[in-house]
């Protein structure tokens, strides 16, 4: 008889588990990613992973908290493709904070109330310190530098607001000084790192006529690379190609992440990674010879959505189970039935003069060979998005069965070019060809190469993370100052609010005659909760700093608290601080060593607005769900065998 068991969590094991799980994320934060081996003791298999998302994918955790975290990471990854590490870290840090609160006797309801307030503060900081991507990074004459910096101040009041109204507000912002926190500090670092004066009143009144500017993709991408410079360069290149192909508006640079595909090649060193317009596929030797014949021709293409074989049936087609064929000895065997089908398909293809077939699934071996003989190139395992791109660009209509093909289903003007021949590099002969549609599609393929098989997955993940970071920045039309600056502002505001609450509470209690409505009193514990929440963010920044290299955990913490103190005294977050991130990064990556020369402009680091906000919210969601859960109910327990455990209660 199956029963249910209840595990009662008096010790808040869930929060402890969450905190422990978050430990996984520590090394995947920051620009210098470290690889991890995950080994399966049972089979001896191992995988090399680099991101939080992949770690959780390989771990297959069965505990309730583990599953909840995995589910949340998956949901985040599916939409954003980046930021899971940040989410997991903060889930851990804030669950630690919640645990601490509980130990200090603060009730669950109060923790939730105060932490929600803290989240509102943080999201508000994000909103206010976000910088519009419009015209960002466009070099301006020095006289305008300060104006634009002040402009940032204005935006703090009206996030991503209408910049045309700025002129009338300029006087006001002058007096605002450092009371408003925003991205302008970051911008000053960029524009005039050495001439920056905090109390400068030398605001130029020359205002440029403000036109909507297109975002400078290269500049934004550089700031969003977060240590993956090579991957981001590929993204920028992809965007450049797409922009060039976009014939409607040449002046506007674009990036359409849905029209990008990736192709991984083993056996070439990583410097060979590159971007090319069109779609790159790997072919076998036989197919390669067909491709050689087809190059520099205008081809007709057929698109097949599914498998191309005699036995394939569309999804949802149920094969009858009880059917028995009554065979006479003279009947054809099943193999010749396939022959018959191949004959039919090939005849049709030849009649329609199709030279190229793109298939989302697989094709039958025999058919591929037959097609080769007739000079028809068959390409398997093509992504649905690529099929769609070819459909729109060539006018072809994707069909499920080859027999459905008719004249109007066939697309035209496709070209095949030999892109590279890897047969000399590797045992397996393979040729890569580029299939493109004469310039009227934005389809771009990024070729990621490595000599180490285990690294390919990580490289691909990194590329997509970068691609989506740029994608989200362009979609948000705003970015956040990175390198921990946004977090610093959040910490500052959280701490300020915490102190305000404590002060308020003390004043109120001192004056006992004062009658206040209990419903409106500030939560007396919220000060503690907000402080602990800020500590979580401090932990985050210092961990990123440590990972960046060249600094110890203690050193990092000291640097952070020094900055916070300075900030309170009105100095502003110094450029020096964000340079900490950069120097570490340069130590770690040889590619950016040239940055170190003092003449080169400092690199700006940006973060994604929506990604950060969502990651934070999701982190807190997980903490809340775990914090509020006080018991686990396990169903389907065999009471005779499992009943002996101490912490289980059987129902």
């Amino acid at each position: 008889m199956p029963g249910s068991t209840i595990i009662n969590h008096r010790q808040h094991v869930g929060l402890q588990k969450l905190s422990a799980l978050a430990g996984i994320s520590h090394s995947s934060l920051g620009p210098n990613k470290k690889y991890k081996f995950i080994q399966d003791d049972a089979s001896g298999d191992s995988t090399l992973v680099c991101s939080c998302f992949r770690i959780f994918e390989s771990l297959e955790l069965t505990c309730a908290v583990g599953q909840l975290v995995h589910e949340t990471i998956q949901a985040h990854q599916k939409v954003y493709h980046t930021g899971s590490g940040c989410m997991l870290f903060l889930a851990g840090a804030w669950s630690h904070a919640a645990l601490e609160c509980l130990q200090r006797g603060i009730s669950v309801a109060q923790i939730i109330l105060a932490m929600s307030e803290g989240m509102d503060i943080c999201l508000d900081v994000c909103k206010k310190s976000s910088v519009s991507t419009e015209g960002l990074g466009v070099e301006q004459p020095e006289s305008c530098t300060k104006t634009s910096a002040r402009l940032g101040l204005q935006m703090s009041k009206k996030p991503i607001g209408d910049a045309s109204q700025t002129s009338c507000h300029l006087q006001e912002t002058k007096t605002n000084g450092h009371k408003t926190l925003n991205g302008s500090v970051q911008r000053k670092i960029k524009l005039s790192r050495h001439s920056y004066e905090a109390k400068s009143e030398n605001v130029s009144t020359i205002l440029q006529p403000h036109q909507p500017k297109h975002p400078d993709i290269a500049h934004i991408a550089e700031g969003l690379s977060h240590g993956c410079v090579d991957a981001m360069n590929l993204v920028v290149e992809a965007s450049r190609i797409q922009t060039k192909n976009n014939q409607h508006d040449v002046s506007c640079s674009t990036f359409d992440v849905n029209k990008v595909t990736s192709c991984v090649l083993l056996g070439l060193s990583e410097e060979h990674s590159c971007v090319t317009p069109g779609c790159i596929v790997t072919l076998s030797a036989e197919q390669a010879s067909v491709a050689h014949h087809l190059k520099e021709q205008h081809l007709k293409v057929a698109l097949i959505n599914g498998d191309l074989s005699d036995s394939y049936r569309h999804l949802g087609f149920n094969r009858p189970t009880g059917v028995q064929r009554v065979t006479a000895p003279s009947d054809l065997s099943s193999s010749s039935k396939e022959e018959e089908w191949i004959e039919k398909v090939v005849t049709l293809l030849l009649k329609l003069e199709v030279n190229l077939i793109l298939i989302s699934g697989l094709a039958s071996e025999k058919l591929i060979l037959r097609c080769c003989r007739y000079g028809i190139l068959v390409v398997e395992k093509v992504m649905a998005s690529v099929l769609k791109a070819f459909a729109t660009a060539t006018g072809a209509v994707p069909v499920t069965y080859a027999t459905q093909l008719s004249k109007h289903c066939v697309g035209i003007e496709v070209t095949v070019a030999i892109w590279g021949d890897l047969s000399s590099h590797e045992r397996r002969p393979s040729t890569t060809v580029n299939i493109s549609t004469g310039g009227n599609s934005d389809l771009v393929t990024v070729i990621l190469t490595s000599c180490v098989h285990g690294k390919l997955q990580a490289l691909e993940d990194q590329f997509w993370a970068c691609a989506y970071r740029l994608h989200h920045a362009l979609r948000d039309k705003a970015i956040l100052p990175g390198a921990g600056l946004t977090e610093m502002l959040c910490i500052h505001h959280l701490q300020e609010q915490a102190e305000r609450t404590v002060r308020h509470y003390r004043e109120r209690n001192g004056d006992s005659a004062q009658q206040t409505k209990a419903g409106t009193t500030a939560n007396p514990c919220s000060g503690v909760v907000l402080h602990l929440m800020a500590d979580g963010l401090i932990d985050y920044i210092s961990t990123v700093l440590v990972n960046t290299g060249g600094i110890s955990k203690v050193g990092a913490r000291t640097a952070v608290s020094q900055q916070l103190r300075d900030y309170k005294e009105g100095v502003g977050f110094a450029a020096k601080f964000s340079q900490l991130f950069l120097e570490g990064e340069q130590d770690g990556s040889a590619a950016s060593i040239s940055m170190k020369s003092s003449e080169a402009p400092a690199v700006k680091i940006y973060d994604n607005l929506s990604v950060k906000q969502e990651a934070w919210r999701k982190a807190l969601d997980v903490v809340f769900l775990v914090l509020q859960a006080d018991a686990e109910i396990i169903t389907g327990i065999d009471q005779k065998t499992d009943g002996a455990q101490g912490n289980l209660m059987l129902l």
Partner: protein
């Protein structure tokens, strides 16, 4: 077949199940489990199986109780009774369960004979239900349909009572408004006659997006997973379009044959024969100028291609749940076979087809040709756990709102109804003690003990709302429920008490309070002067709560009446 040979084990018979320690412990455990989930600050439970299945985080009685199964038939009896209430009324499941288990526990503690407790309980239940139906009932609020405010409040109380949704104040309000909006859309505007057939709200969940992007649309939204074929949509506006709806599979397979063996000649190509049949169907549909072709199941790609090439929009795999709303919306009759011509009356009509995008979901929005009470609610949340709880809660809320049409009342929430009712029962039962004693035929001591058990059980439902060691209080004028935070002394109470649980009574200095579960002087709870300026903040469903009260008392009485439990061990 070893099992056939195994010796039959004898049945297990438990005499006086409530005297059995094991059963009592389990009842106690169940009560604690459910009490800890109660209310907006309730704790959550992570439900999963022992082989690593999906984890559900919830505090909803319907989800919890269906997951919990006991080896004790006695526990299952109570569980099934509560689940039955929830399946009919959606709301107040935890209320019923906690009350029921409290009554059983307190009856046990009182040492009274089962039959006496049952009689007294029945009598007191009648007192309660009569009072709740009375015009001057102090805890009932008349709902005014001229304004949506009270409806929104009712929805809000229902939605905010489930913390696993993890909603902010603003989000709760947004969802409450949507729930009311959806409810209003399902009420037909001008239906002739006295019987009103309510429409339906179809909930579509979209994971990974902000709650505030949730919305409600009149009409139906159906999934359009096939993004290849969305190019010829421009001309399909305004004019009502003819549509056809199939419930039969059009996949072109032999699925309708069922089991059994068929012998077939190898020369027979069944696939192409069925396909020919399907294309015949396609030709008829084209001839009849159908513009939208919908199938509950799969449509053969060749037929799809044929239809699309003639400018028809094709939707396959609609799913069984959308069939009924779609027939209501369009007036189409589902066609169950592909072997006859489609009768003209089977065709339905739609208006205004629009493509809408929600995150990664592309959906086709179908509007009714005329008046219709079908609407679609798109629910978004940041993760699956919270989204699934939100979906359950929204369904519950829809149900709660529908009951207001039958009985336009609500009860005060926040534990005030329970404390008020307990005070009323204490007062009323003493006033009518003589008549009651003679009709019940029990001693006065038994009567008093019975009343005390019943009232304390009611009050313990109010105390169950508090989970952070706060103290529950009762004011001695209106007998509403108040909560004092754990770290506040009674001396400083005046500053730290907000309004009462339902928000209707404000804290005033000369008010008298008493802790719940202590002896307090009998009071006749005064109904509040109906001051329109002060509105209750928390409202509960009248219909659901009254029924829950009955279910709880009757289930408890049944449980107290059980003499033997005979458990077949095979």
């Amino acid at each position: 077949m070893m099992s056939r040979l195994a010796k039959k084990s004898p049945s297990l018979c438990t005499d006086q199940p409530l005297d059995n320690t094991d059963i009592c412990n389990k009842l106690y455990l169940l009560r604690h489990l459910l009490t800890s989930c109660f209310g907006p600050r309730g704790r959550l439970k992570q439900v999963h199986n022992n082989i690593g299945g999906r984890v559900v985080t919830t505090s909803t009685s319907s989800v919890l109780l269906s997951a919990v199964s006991s080896s004790q038939p006695f526990i299952n009896l109570i569980k099934i009774s509560i689940l039955n209430h929830v399946s009919r009324f959606s709301d107040c499941g935890l209320f019923a369960a906690i009350l029921c288990l409290s009554i059983i526990e307190r009856a046990k503690q009182s040492g009274l004979r089962g039959s006496v407790v049952i009689k007294v309980n029945k009598y007191l239940l009648d007192l309660c239900t009569c009072y709740l139906q009375q015009e001057d009932c102090g805890v009932r609020v008349k709902l005014d349909f001229c304004s949506s405010q009270n409806l929104i409040k009712l929805a809000r109380s229902s939605i905010s009572s489930k913390p696993a949704c993890v909603l902010t104040e603003q989000e709760t309000l947004h969802i409450s408004r949507l729930a009311v909006q959806a409810f209003l859309l399902t009420v037909p505007c001008n239906s002739p006659g006295t019987t009103v057939t309510l429409g339906k709200t179809v909930i579509v969940s979209v994971e990974g997006h902000s709650v505030l992007s949730s919305s409600v649309f009149p009409g139906l939204l159906v999934d359009m997973p096939d993004v290849f074929h969305l190019n010829n949509m421009e001309y399909l506006h305004s004019n009502p379009l003819r549509m056809v709806l199939f419930s039969a599979s059009l996949a072109g397979d032999l699925s309708e044959l069922g089991d059994g063996r068929i012998e077939m000649h190898p020369g027979v190509d069944t696939d192409s024969q069925i396909l020919d049949q399907l294309l015949e169907l396609g030709k008829q549909v084209v001839k009849d100028e159908v513009k939208l072709f919908v199938c509950q199941k799969v449509i053969h790609p060749v037929l799809q291609q044929y239809l699309r090439s003639r400018g028809i929009i094709v939707i396959e795999r609609l799913g069984i749940t959308l069939m009924e709303p779609l027939t209501q919306l369009t007036g189409a009759q589902p066609v169950a076979t592909l072997h006859t011509t489609i009768p003209p009356q089977a065709y339905g009509k739609v208006r205004d087809l629009t493509i809408r995008q929600f995150g990664s979901k592309t959906m086709l929005h179908l509007q009714p040709p005329g008046e219709s009470a079908i609407c679609t609610m798109i629910l978004s949340h940041r993760n699956e756990t919270m989204l699934s709880e939100l979906k359950v809660v929204c369904q519950k809320t829809e149900h709660v709102l529908r009951f207001t049409l039958r009985e336009p009342s609500a009860l005060l929430g926040g534990g005030c109804t329970e404390t008020h009712l307990a005070a009323y029962v204490r007062h009323k039962s003493m006033k009518e003690a003589t008549e009651a004693l003679s009709s019940l035929g029990c001693s006065q001591t038994d009567y008093l003990l019975g009343i005390e058990g019943f009232c304390r059980s009611l009050e313990s439902v109010a105390t169950a709302l508090e989970h952070d060691d706060g103290k529950s209080l009762l004011d001695l004028t209106h007998a509403h429920h108040w909560t004092l935070p754990a770290d506040v002394m009674k001396e400083h109470m005046e500053h730290n008490l907000g309004p009462c649980g339902c928000g209707l009574v404000e804290s005033i200095p000369d008010k008298k309070w008493t802790y719940l579960h202590t002896k307090y002087p009998q009071i006749s709870p005064a109904p509040l002067a109906r001051d329109t300026a002060v509105q209750p903040r928390v409202l509960d469903s009248f219909t659901a709560k009254v029924n829950a009260l009955q279910v709880a008392v009757e289930t408890a009485n049944l449980a107290l009446d059980v003499r033997y439990v005979i458990h077949d061990m095979n």
